[in-house]
Amino acid sequence: MADNDLALMAHLLRRAGFGAARSELEEYAAKGYEAVVEELLNPEDSPPVEEDIIDRYYGGEAPTIWVGKWFYRMIGTKRPLVEKMALFWHHVLATGINKTEHLPSSGGQIELFQRIGMSDVRTVLLEVSKDPAMIYWLDNHENRKGEPNENYGRELLELFSMGVGNYTEDDIKNAARAFTGWTITQPIPLYPQGHFKSEFQFSQGDHDEGEKTFLGHTGNLNGDDIVDIVVKQPATANFLARHMYNFFVADEPQVPAWSVEPPQDQETIDTIVKAYMETDGDIVAMLRAMFNSDSFKNAQFKKVKNPTELVAGVLKLVGTYRFPEPGVVAFGAATTLMGQTLLNPPTVEGWHTGKEWIDGGTLNERINFAVNEIGDAGKPGIQDIINRLGAHGGSVSPEEFTDKALDLVGPLPVDDKTHAALMEYAESVGSLDFSSDEAREEATPRVIHMLQMIAATREFQFA
């Protein structure tokens, strides 16, 4: 198979998933690009993660455990796009446990995204409007007739659907009134009952039955009506298409700038918008249009990896957690150090992405995490790379060593300066010898150091 096919498949799996081991990549590449896109878009055709195994090995209820389980899914699933879309919606519909009445509701929101993240935009917005974690996060349980709390109404329009500039302050007030009474049941106490999620409740007495005018529609509007009106707006199609582009294709400016800065690639966004408008916001149709577009295929390494992608990608590379093993709960702390605490975005705007993932502190953490994970020759992914490097049983020249290592990590294209530095390392250790077990033993730490150097490159920070 051609090298560029492999590179393109690796790209698709970094974006639509969390990367792939080389053997997985070869299996995918053999099927062809469009077939794999369809496979990813139809997750029900692939086996699910075995829930009973997860429950057996990763018992207990706490945010660190939920995040740990989520990493286990990201790494092991045959339905990677389901997990990637859950992460996408977590970015867009950002809800955090730093303000939560009842923690299980926050874990429940990720399950909600895993369940409906690939359905249609109306379902997502309606379900999230009824989601206990969201209701509490944006204070809709305090949104009552006569005392409207605008928080959810405002963010639904500003950040979840249309974007600034497409509605008025009056629209916000009326949307808020329409969502009055959309509240949650009193959470069941943790002790002695255990973890149960809070539930959505429509409180008739708190609901404002008066006439409201929203985006030109007048009547006794309820929250469902607001969602129905919102999903028909071209502004919503545009805004969510730009979110998809920013998350899957190439880094855009931060969301607050979108009302004034045009997208870098309106054409591709139009392609996604067209799919939205033709299907009433079918998410799979939008994703299909995007993944099959040339600009997606040409966008290799045009995005800075978010911390979750970096951590999950390194774990795929080193091949751990293919089966349940202890330690998976540590990865939430790792992404936190890199600026992304899953289940706890900094604000309702979600995380700032692209270049803003990188500062001195976070770059330091990204590099150190990868270097530490790679530094163990016993890990199956590292073993696999060593086996492939020494497959011919003979001697591997410094140049071959450098290029093959870059290929097996990515394939990862690097600029001349990076290549020269890696070559300098390869030359400092001379040719690798795989002709005997002893020689192989000696080559192993050298391979590991090369992989650590590669993980420390600028290029490795991109997806």
Binding site: N98, K99, L138, D139, H141, E142, R144, E147, P148, N149, E150, N151, R154, E158, V164, P253, Q254, V255, P256, A257, V260, E261, V304, T336, L337, G339, P346, T347, V348, E349, H352, G354, K355, E356, I358, D359, G360, G361, T362, L363, N364, E365, I367, N368, V371, N372, G375, D415, K417, A421, L422, E424, Y425, H449, Q452, M453, A456, T457, R458, Q461
Partner: protein, 377 residues
């Protein structure tokens, strides 16, 4: 120069989310306040008065104590024209000083560029916390951002020293200036080189620090302790930046706001005590700001986004007192019929810090000349 001959240092403390200024500095004798806040109110008999009209929230007792010592300048009614009630836009405006367009350059970044035009010290500006605030972002200007001061250093996972030194040497080459490779690549190269330089210096800060002050165990106390440790190590940092999150009180304000004010004011008090104990307080002034105040009327549980807010300038060289003007509480003066108005442009307060404290020229940094206050001795 500060009075003690050392270069002046500025600590910027951002209260993220929009602190409720009216419930921080309470107009405790004004019936309009009690009318507008039937629920989310600070009862008159609990407040800490500073005069006949205004009083500190009881949870900000340490701040009140520092005010009584003459160390706290209160900037009343800070804001800007056509306030955006969006946090994100609001914070962006504060960070870039660009109320009318989307700016990319942070004002603190510009100040750091002016303080260290030859880029001689990557620690001239240091941020504590996860993620760099846009206020510090400026292409080409090195900024050091520290997540965990006790754990700095690159590729510490390579145990063999010779190997690690070789790796760091090659790292330096890989991250040398990458002109013409695109803004993100260039930025990465610069950041990587700065990390390499900064980490080695920063490592010394925790090693040399001892203190009698026991900071509380909360995020803002930890951040200010880190500021103190780096300042006391004498690494040449001129601007420190850190944030205290959680001030977006749409709901349950009376449950959460008190704790934040307690953590905040206690941490500030401990911080200055720590500096004084080390004879290193005279050269430090702190600016505490937030992106906006809250709505006049409460919503039954919290307060929604408003306009005019408040800021504090704190330090040994500060002439304590009230500055600018507390916005009128008279309902006919409410902005948009709902908000406390603003009285002084935030850029004038940045200007005050930059011109009068840091000895810089604020005009190019905040993009214009704005009314200033005079809070320094």
């Amino acid at each position: 120069m500060a009075a003690n001959g050392k270069p002046p240092v500025m600590v910027i403390l951002q209260l993220t989310g929009g602190n409720d200024f009216m419930n921080t500095l309470v107009p405790y004798n004004n019936p309009v306040y009690y009318d507008a806040r039937p629920t989310v109110v600070i009862p008159q008999d609990t407040v800490l008065p500073i005069n006949d009209t205004l009083a500190f929230n009881p949870n900000a007792a340490p701040l009140k104590e520092m005010f009584d010592d003459g160390k706290v300048a209160i900037v009343q009614g800070i804001g800007y024209q056509n306030s955006s009630r969006s946090h994100f836009r609001g914070m962006d405006i504060w960070h870039t000083c660009e109320p009318d367009k989307i700016g990319t350059e942070g004002w603190v970044g510009r100040a750091i560029r002016d303080l260290d035009p030859k880029k001689e010290n990557v620690l001239t500006g240091v941020n504590f916390g996860r993620g760099l605030p846009r206020a510090m972002a400026l292409a080409g200007t090195p900024i050091t951002s520290v997540g965990d001061l006790d754990n700095v250093g690159l590729m510490t996972g390579i145990e063999e020293e010779a190997r690690r030194n070789l790796a760091l040497d090659l790292f330096k080459k890989m991250y040398s200036p990458a002109v013409g490779t695109g803004p993100v690549m260039e930025y990465l190269a610069q950041t990587g080189s700065d990390v390499l330089t900064g980490a080695d210096i920063l490592k010394k800060a925790p090693e040399s620090y001892t203190s009698e002050v026991e900071y509380a165990d909360n995020p803002i106390a930890k951040s200010l302790k880190d500021v103190a440790r780096v300042h006391l190590a004498g690494l040449g940092t001129r601007i420190f930046y850190t944030a205290h999150a959680g001030y977006d009180h749409h709901a349950n304000e009376l449950k959460t706001h008190p704790g934040l004010l307690r953590d905040l004011s206690g941490a500030i008090m401990d911080f200055f005590q720590d500096l004084r104990d080390h004879d290193a307080a005279d050269e430090v002034s702190m600016l505490v700001f937030t992106e906006f105040g809250r709505r006049m009327r409460d919503n039954g549980s919290g307060t929604d986004h408003g306009s005019g807010g408040g800021a504090f300038i704190i330090g040994e060289n500060v002439k304590g007192g009230l500055y600018a003007e507390y916005p009128s509480l008279n309902p006919s003066d409410w902005l948009k019929g709902e908000d406390l108005d603003w009285k002084i442009d935030f850029r004038g307060i940045y200007g005050t810090m930059l011109d009068q404290w840091m000895g810089l020229d604020s005009v190019p940094i905040v993009d214009g000349q704005f009314e200033q206050i005079h809070p320094f001795n």
